[in-house]
Amino acid sequence: MSLFINITLNGVSDGMIFAALALSLVLIFRATRIVNFAQGAMGMMTTFIASTLLNRGLSYWWMFVSVLVIGFVFGALVERVLIRPLQGRSELNPVIVSIGLLVVLEGLAGAIYGNASRGFPAAYSQSGLTVGHTKIAFSHFDVFILVAVLVVMGALLVLFRLTSLGLRMRASAFAGEVSRLLGVRVGLLLTLGWALAGVTGALSGLLVAPTSSFSPYFMDLVLVYAFTAAVIGGLESPVGALIGGLITGLAISYVGGYLGSGLQPVGALVLLIVALMIRPEGIFSRPPSRVV
């Protein structure tokens, strides 16, 4: 029984990390209708930069803030330089460009930082908390993950639902041309969407790195798990990213705990296929829009 609880708790904290990266995917999809397959690699890159900052003596929390800012700028840059020129052409081109970017970033990270395996510190202790008399598989760091993702999610919900900026961003995503006719600076807001996605991507990198191999490829699986989470929740829904993340995290955790970690990606594949067959638009999708 305690194995089940520990596996479940693992699933929750993994799920939160997937939710964080899934949030990036959702942000970009809402803003620009593109799935950014390079989002994980971008988070990997910012984490490598974080590692360098730490090596230079920066404290953890200053590094944390700096990396989020770097993620913001990185996201904006990618949109302006690579994605904007492709506007209006086939919807597959930006996807392929994002794949190319993924590969370029992994290559760059490998070339610059080399193969030496390295560790990455966690914000808090990673040893399990004690509940009653037993140690559970949920550490201070896992609590931090939970809180950080919920805070980010909450902030985004407030942004989208309650602010004028959020209203403009939503309008830009749903109806770009009409929004421009209403004076909305759609281009700027698309860039902002990518920039925010850069922040959540950077965050997820920082959350994953302590428990991973921290090679240039360490975000690959996280990305596809996040993609699965986003598809389950609905590529347009931040709340969906959270729920989808939890579902995916738990599923992966059970597969890993009872069947072996090598089968986790296959488990995700099966989960993704099932989700796409049953409800491809996701749990929290809006009714399909029609043009009148």
């Binding site: 403009r168 939503r170 309008a171 009409v178 929004s179 006719l181 004076g183 043009v291 009148v292």
Partner: protein, 235 residues
Amino acid sequence: MLEISDLSVSYGAVRALSSVTLTAEPGAITAILGANGAGKTTLLRTVSGLVKPRSGSVRFDGEEMLGTAVERIARRGVAHVPEGRGVIEELTVEENLRLATLWCIGRRARGAAMAEILELFPALVPLRQRHASTLSGGERQMLVIGRALISKPRLLLLDEPSLGLAPMVTATLMAILRRQTEGSDMTVLLVEQNARSALSVSEHAVVLNLGAVVLSDSAAAVAANDELRHMYLGF
């Protein structure tokens, strides 16, 4: 006042507008009429900046508009209600209206502006929190015209507002339009295939055929011109 001179627009090899010249006065509605494909929509889209012309000029109150970005043109006081209405379905009625106020009205005054528009279109009041996708054709048209008017535009461009609407609804809308325009300093370009209802509320009419102006005269004169009406306007 809107002054369009010698405007030519092509989509690739297809000539959409050929040397169009027209003037529209403030405080009056100018109807743009003609059959399908005459270039009426292209004309509006060029004025609002969505389409780049090959040559010509568009001056509003003395300022050249061509070459400016769409959102900047909008912020100069140009409101374009596009073909197909342009309701943002995923937003509520209130959000649709609010969106148009964000750049031009301070937060306090937004409430007042919203109230003003809802007074003009009382049918929208019970629909405020509804998603725009649930609205009927007539309700959508009220929403987009309200959304256009809420920013107190100096130039209002309407593309076939009566499309798909029942005659009663059309008549009501046209009446509201006329009342809003008279005595104001707003210039209105009204593109319509339903020439009859358009002519009944406009002062001036311009008839396009195959991208060129074939007639520009007072609305009354155009309505009285039987031969022209048969040839270009279908009645």
